[in-house]
């Protein structure tokens, strides 16, 4: 297991380095936006990983409430934390990209707002876990995650219908046809690299949580046995 992990980690590192090079140097400069467009090679892949993590947490939360397996909860907290990390990157790089290109730091359109709300919800989720008396309460957290994700859907729909749509700039030169193949290459490499990195992080965080669960169990067992030994004397 250890060697599989090491190989995967190495592969991820290679992909990330290659992706970085492609993003900064390899890909050609975009015609209209200039150098700043390269942020796209980082912003979108990070968003993609976040969009993988949060639904996975949603599923894990539901499954946990049904079968109450500790391993599922470990997976839930792992995807939540990693999701928040990538979401933070998205929320920071987005405005940094938007400002020079479109002149605005922020707009309340459906996509941005639901991303922000998801960030708020999952930070709340992590705080709920952290602040519960007597250790993280996985049932409360799972219930909250379910509320949160359903709510995110409502947020998206609400803004779609109630706020006048600012002409949301599509990723110019990104997803449209006629894109330079070297740009596509840079994009795909970074997409793969960050997906692997995200998976790696979830794997690490999951093992950390599982081990912690087992240590806590062992602790509890130990104090139980000590108590028994003491009382039987």
């Amino acid at each position: 297991m250890k060697s599989k992990f090491a190989i995967f980690a190495l592969l991820t590192f290679v992909l990330l380095s290659w992706g970085l090079y492609q993003a900064l140097v390899g890909a050609p400069t975009e015609a209209t936006m200039g150098q700043v467009q390269r942020i796209f090679y980082y912003h979108v892949p990070n968003a993609w990983v976040m969009e993988l993590c949060f639904p996975l947490n949603f599923l894990a939360s539901i499954i946990y409430l049904v079968n109450r397996k500790a391993a599922i909860d470990a997976f839930a907290v792992a995807t939540a934390e990693v999701g928040v990390v990538f979401c933070t990157v998205v929320l920071l790089t987005g405005p940094i990209w938007a400002r020079p290109v479109w002149g605005i730091w922020w707009t309340w359109d459906a996509r941005l707002t639901s991303t922000l709300v998801l960030w708020l919800i999952y930070v709340g989720y992590l705080m709920l876990r952290k602040l519960s008396t007597g250790g993280p309460n996985p049932v409360l957290a799972a219930s909250f995650a379910i509320f949160g994700c359903i709510d995110a859907v409502f947020v998206f729909m609400a803004i779609r219908w109630f706020r006048t749509q600012h002409p949301k700039p599509v990723f110019a030169g990104g997803a449209d046809s006629g894109i330079d193949p070297r740009m596509m290459h840079a994009f795909l490499i970074n997409l793969l690299a960050f997906t692997c990195y995200g998976a790696l992080l979830v794997w690490i965080r999951y093992s950390l949580e599982r081990t912690r669960q087992k240590v806590d169990e062992a602790h509890a067992m130990k104090s139980l046995l000590h108590q028994e030994a003491r009382s039987s004397r």
């Binding site: 409430l65 707002t113 709300v117 708020l120 919800i121 709340g124 989720y125 705080m127 709920l128 602040l131 519960s132 008396t133 007597g134 309460n137 049932v139 409360l140 219930s143 909250f144 379910i146 509320f147 949160g148 359903i150 709510d151 409502f154 947020v155 729909m157 609400a158 803004i159 219908w161 109630f162 706020r163």
Partner: protein
Amino acid sequence: MSVLSVLRITLAKDLRMEWRSKDAINSMLFFALLVVVIFSFSFDLTADESRQIAGGLIWVALLFAAVVALNQTWARELRNQVLDAYRVSPAPAESLFLAKTIGNFLFVAILELLMTPLFIVFYNLRSIGPVYQLILASVLGNWALVVNGTFFGAMSIRTRSREVLLPLILFPISIPALLAMVGATTSTLTGEGSAHLSLVFLAVYDVVFTLLGLFLFETVLQAE
């Protein structure tokens, strides 16, 4: 015991206790008053502007006041270890949830009845659209805040910084409802745009989250 009878009894008990002590109501009312004054003081608006903005202001003010109320009602339960009693009793958790929610709804409604006239006075508000829409928005919006607030209140009192955690987890969840409430209120006040979509959205939100809360409350109550 049937769901309905437990509901009735629990609700009556809550209301009776609150009526006797009156401390929660009084502090909530005064807090609501202060919130209205401060908001009105901070924004000096013309008649037209006030119609555009009042919707948002009223709901934000109400949100803050409601959180104070919500924290209160659950804190009282915790103080007397009533929560543990509920857990072991055969009474269905759903009725407890509904009773608490309805009780909170009534408290927040009292806050609304206090704060709204004050806002009207301070901002010289006059609604261009039909008033029944405003009332509908108040009722649906109130329920939206209170149904989630009651559910998360039950969660957050089990944590260390309980008073702070409730708004932390309630606010993001309430954002779509807030959008709809403010949208409906502003449309009605200014007479521009239709409030119907917002009101329907709010109603759907209420139904979905009430069902979700009913479904999961037992789980949350039993979580150690």
